[in-house]
């Protein structure tokens, strides 16, 4: 178990290095730089600034320099927000994305799993069609459409909720719903299809033949088998949602990390782009590792030692 985790972390480190390198190169391939403006800066000032951030050095020197800071956990200063380091930005923005993301994920789980089960239990009947109808909409409709509709009705028409910005619990509701739309629909479909498969398994018949009540058959014998695909999906989903959704955070003016990430690309804020990418990567690797560690708890047939390592 311990060996497995250590080995996985070593592989992860290699993956991380590849991500850093590729992102670093791509970033410099994009035309323009952090200090290019429509109105050109005087040559001397530009040179000064570039010298300060070592942007005048050859690329490989910059790369090695960045890595040496990275090893110490220092993601460097932001080029755009004077006096702020990338670490500061993540520390400040990430909790907002976490709050929004946690609500969205809980919403997706508590809505998606039961409705998937409901649909499976009433296959090809009204509840099934209802769930499938909404989950198709949830998958087909982008979050910005859901967000805009919510905003139009709940805020503009009926004035129930604040339309944007952040601060109170009311502010969380609409962006969380918009963010949860796709995962809810996806989880409902995953749960439905795996539950349908489980329901037709022989061991479910054994459970009935033992005279167990329906509740126990479903929630003990059924769900533990049916939940595995959902857990698999949960790893990348949690990482993706926690780092924030640019679109949703932008529409609702939520000061989260996702919004900042995309803005940093417009600004060629090299260190922020790299820093947030790395942060996202670490989170993703960590979540996938966590999911893999959870598998054996759900399905005893899965043994970590025998598994092919994947990052």
């Amino acid at each position: 178990m311990f060996n497995y985790i250590v080995r996985r972390l070593l592989y992860s480190l290699a993956a991380l290095l590849v991500v850093v390198t590729v992102t670093f190169l791509f970033m410099h391939i994009i035309p323009g730089g952090p200090f290019q403006r429509e109105k050109a800066l005087p040559e001397a000032i530009r040179k000064n600034i570039e010298a300060r951030y070592k942007l005048d050095q050859p690329l490989h020197i910059q790369y090695i320099d960045y890595l040496s800071h990275l090893i110490r956990g220092d993601l460097g200063p932001s080029y755009k927000y004077r006096g702020m380091t990338v670490n500061d930005i993540i520390r400040e923005r990430f909790p907002v994305s976490v709050e929004l993301g946690t609500v969205a994920i809980l919403l997706a789980l508590f809505l998606g799993i039961p409705s998937g089960i409901l649909a499976a239990l009433h296959q090809s009947k009204f509840p099934d069609y209802l769930v499938m109808f909404f989950s198709t909409i949830g998958i087909a409709m982008p979050s910005f459409v859901i967000g805009t509709l919510l905003m139009y009705f709940l805020s503009y028409k009926w004035g129930l909720l604040p339309s944007a910005t952040w601060g109170s619990p009311q502010h969380v509701i609409m962006p969380a719903i918009a963010l949860a739309g796709l995962p809810t629909a996806y989880i409902a479909r995953l749960t439905r299809s795996s539950m349908l498969e489980v329901l037709s398994q022989d061991y479910m018949k054994t459970a009935i033949a033992k005279g167990l009540p329906r509740r126990r058959i479903l929630w003990v014998h059924g769900i533990k088998n049916a939940i595995i695909p959902v857990v698999t999906y949960l790893g990348p989903l949690v990482a993706g949602i926690l780092t924030g959704s640019f679109v949703v955070e932008n529409i609702f003016a939520v000061p989260g990390l996702g919004k900042h990430y995309v803005t940093s690309i417009y600004n060629r804020d090299y260190t922020v782009i790299l820093g947030v990418t790395i942060f996202y990567c670490v989170l993703l690797i960590f979540m996938n590792l966590l999911v893999d560690l959870v598998y054996p708890l759900i399905d005893p047939r899965i043994k970590l030692a025998e598994r092919k390592e994947q990052v």
Binding site: Y203, T206, A209, K210, G211, P213, R216, N225, D299, P300
Partner: protein, 333 residues
């Protein structure tokens, strides 16, 4: 004939499929007395499993539906019971052993959970009491090191051991009746013998009645008190073990007996299969359903469904007093 444990009267079961309504069981009647082993024999698709599962109401509905008859267990008609009342009978008064122990155990729950859950449910035992009982059961069914084995999961068990677990589960609440649906079909021959021996031993010990469903007459020979031979959803021959094996009266039973491979037969004896296919159960039969495959078919066989002759032994026109006498060549004892 006082106090049948189970009485099945005119059971009819249908399945609605795309092709139409399949009448899987067509008026089956039989009784099981306490402590008795009754074997239901027939080829695949003859309705033997459906009959057995109907007793427990395990027929998936839809598409399946019990459309007629009565199933009287311990004086009560099971078909009149609601789901909740059935739950108190399943696993408690009637235990069931399934065909394939590989797929009938839940892979993600520990053996302990699976063996103890109906004890806790039906007998109201505490976790500790149920565990003690489970250890006792594992000794009974011959699983060594019960304390260790109970903590394991199904994938850590061999096929034979899993079937022992299934038997332990079925026995847990000391049911009056055990339905064993092809309990040895999925096992190796050597393991088959062990499991059959175990079933017999446990039956003698607890005086449990058993309905043994099988297509293997070899299994029946060592176990059953009475035999019911099923064909196309009907019982075509019934009798005690000796009657059916030594003086079979239905050509279908003759066919079954001739197609049993034997170790002691000389090499010149060929296995004689029953030619043709079982009939399409979508159709109604106004004639003997075995007629198209029968070597002894007569004109009447194509015209009218035979009733039971000889005091309810066999459904075959050959047993009519006016029918020509055909002797079953007794190659098999």
């Amino acid at each position: 004939m006082v106090g049948h444990l189970l009485e099945v009267k005119n059971l009819e079961v249908e399945f609605t499929t795309y092709a139409g309504v399949v009448k899987a069981v067509r008026g089956v009647s039989f009784e099981v007395d306490p402590g008795e082993v009754v074997a239901l024999v027939g080829e695949s698709g003859c309705g033997k499993s459906v009959t057995a599962q109907s007793i427990m109401q395990l027929i998936p509905s839809p598409p399946g539906k019990i459309t007629g008859g009565e199933i009287i267990f311990d004086g009560e008609n099971l078909l009149e019971k609601n789901e909740h009342q059935m739950q108190k009978i399943r696993g408690n008064k009637i235990g069931m052993i399934f065909q394939d122990p590989m797929t009938y155990l839940n892979p993600v729950l520990s053996i302990a959970t699976q063996v103890t859950e109906n004890l806790r449910l039906h007998k109201g035992m505490s976790k500790k009491e149920a565990m003690e009982r489970a250890v006792e059961l594992f000794h009974l069914v011959g699983i060594p090191d019960p304390e260790i084995r109970l903590k394991q999961y199904p994938h850590q068990f061999s096929g034979g051991m899993r079937q022992r677990v299934m038997i332990a589960m079925a026995l847990a609440c000391e049911p009056k009746l055990i339905i064993a649906d092809e309990p040895t079909t999925a096992l190796d021959v050597t393991v088959q013998a062990q499991i059959l021996e175990l079933l017999k031993e446990l039956k003698d010990r607890f005086q449990t009645a058993v309905i043994l469903i099988t297509h293997d007459l070899g299994v029946v020979a060592g176990q059953a008190d009475r035999i019911l031979v099923m064909y196309a959803g009907q019982i075509v021959e019934r009798g005690t073990l000796d009657e059916v094996l030594k003086t079979p009266q239905h050509p279908y039973t003759w066919g079954l007996l001739k197609s049993v491979p034997r170790l002691d037969a000389d090499k010149s004896r060929k296995l004689t299969p029953i030619w043709g296919q079982p009939p399409d159960l979508l159709q109604e039969f106004s004639y003997c359903p075995f007629m198209p495959r029968c070597d002894y078919a007569m004109a009447i066989c194509a015209e009218e469904m035979p009733p039971f002759f000889n005091g309810g032994r066999a459904r075959c026109w050959l047993n009519h007093p006016q029918a020509p006498k055909v002797e079953f060549k007794k190659e098999v004892s």
